[in-house]
Amino acid sequence: MDTLVNVAHGFGVALLPINLLYCFIGVFIGTLVGVLPGIGPISAMSLLLPVTLSGTPESGIIMMAGIYYGSMYGGSTTSILVNIPGEAASVVTCIDGHQMAKQGRAGPALGIAAFGSFAAGTFALVALMLVAPKLASIAIAFGPAEYFSLMVLGLVVLTFLTQGSMPKALLMACIGVVLGLVGLDSITAQPRLTFGRMELIDGIGLVPVVMGLFGVAEVLLNTEQAIKRDIINTKITHLLPSREDWKASAGPVGRGTILGFFLGILPGGGAVVASFASYALEKRLSKTPERFGHGAIEGVAGPESANNAAAGGAFIPLMTLGIPPNVVMALLLGAFVIHGLQPGPLLITQNPGLFWGIVASMYIGNVMLLILNLPMIGMWVQLLKLPYNILFPLIILFTILGVYCSSNNVFDVYVMIAFGIIGYFMRKLGYEPAPLVLAFVLGPMMENNLRKSLILSQGDLWTFVQRPISGACLVLALVLLTAPLLPSLRKKRELVALDEGA
């Protein structure tokens, strides 16, 4: 009963005209960046992070969340019609989605991707409503040792799932922690790594770092090669899947939804892993696995449902524990912090309007996305023809303006350009920026919790092992750290490794 009252309260907040507008802007931009290859939700969210300053916390966070789950919808359009994934979570959809389009079945492929995403998004929201308050009430009992170990686990899982060698990912995570510690020490107020620059006393801003690493670096990388697009030119018809299509897709949608939701909750996991796992599961369960790769609708329905369910599930650790499970959620945490809010176990009780408002807006956003992605599909197809030689300079200009407006400080523009150049060379040398960004956000929290637990336990390191949740997290982290040493596990890791840590 309480949940229903809270949901009604949430809809009251989400249905305010201003919040509806922000929700629409969020899902629209999300679909846009999902559709356009080369720009992912991370770049778009980092670009728009300063915009959240102008409105209420509800409006800003509703918009940011909309970009994330909106991009999951939009990504499938590009995968199906162009055979280029709009964002990392839609890589798998290319395999069978584009084959379906080539066979003249682009309509049913787009239709099942949208309906499957809608069903999965709805399930994830209902589950979020039921699970989050319960988990938050348990999380109140968490001490600094549990928080520290959970963050360590989150970082290790992300580095485990990042493409390329694990030492590289771990090195990136360490650099992220160090960058996060720049500025005044929160306990002793001693300046650290500021090199005498007053601008660094408050630390390095999240906005210039992510805009540089994901916005500028992405443009630099994309300019290296001419982007060729092979757009399906036939008219898109029959967006409503046939009865046979529904019959074949019902199971994959259901399994993908459940699998995606649980993988989304796990720290370090997310939409990309979920879509790959769902595809593998459907292929394994199919009586005719040879159809996969040649236009099997199950290969679209499962992964698309899984990535949307994962996007919903990823909100749970952030909202209930205050720990972002992936980079996108780290950016959302940044939006909370900008407004002086701290997501965590007390958010639901202290700020119910915000929590339930965001959850309700996600439901409204899912309905908006269904309308945006089916009847208006023609508009997105036209957008796919937007020339990149005009788009990229505009992105650069918007990143400069976005960074400057977030702090009114030219120094941040320098920081962004520097991180853009560093990010470009990092990617060229095979160093993924995702662990760095997550560690940058978690670094100060990890340090704080580590020092608090050491002070409370009077220097007894066993406190991290003796407390069951903390101990379990550390053991799991250790297993993941040592896993790549075993050849069979190393192969498995390479199979599930993701591109951007999304």
Partner: protein, 161 residues
């Protein structure tokens, strides 16, 4: 058959360079941690976490170096093989020049040439389209930010913008 793009103990090994940079950074972080004072395990100081993170950085960088030497790694040149490497290089040069020009020239005088350069350098947009975009977009953004949102953009030594 030997792959010429994969080398072991050579200066052109990109993995080796990545590891060495990581090792140097790790060393610097350890030194910074020591300088900030470690404190004790009962009461960790400001440099405590930095120091141990620096050690971890050196360990991971060491692992990268060992792997680069034993298994080999792609050469620096092969990382840019078949790529239009001059495009990002030009873009980096433009952004660096822009960062030096932003404060003295102000937003408008620095961003209009930047846009024009980017539009002409990446995949050249024809002049008749590039010039209006390069002038109108920064000017339009400047107008929205300054007049509507009352955000003061850098106006430079000439006070333009």
């Amino acid at each position: 058959m030997n792959d010429p793009t994969n080398v072991k103990l050579r200066l052109s090994n990109s993995e080796l360079w990545g590891g060495l940079i990581g090792l140097a950074l790790g060393g610097f972080v350890i030194w910074s941690g020591l300088k900030l004072k470690l404190g004790t395990i009962n009461d960790p100081g400001s440099g405590y976490v930095l120091f141990y993170t620096g050690i971890l950085m050196c360990v991971f960088a060491g692992a990268i170096i060992v792997s680069a030497v034993t298994e080999g790694g792609p050469t620096l040149a092969s990382r840019w093989e078949d790529m239009r490497w001059s495009k990002p290089l030009l873009l980096i040069a433009c952004l660096t020049a822009f960062s030096f020009a932003l404060e003295p020239l102000g937003f408008l005088l620095s961003s209009i040439p930047l846009m024009l350069l980017l539009l002409r350098l990446i995949d050249p947009v024809r002049w008749t389209l590039a010039v209006p975009i390069a002038v109108l977009v920064p000017s339009g953004m400047w107008w929205v930010l300054k007049r509507l949102l009352l955000i003061q953009l850098p106006s430079g030594l000439f006070g333009i913008g």
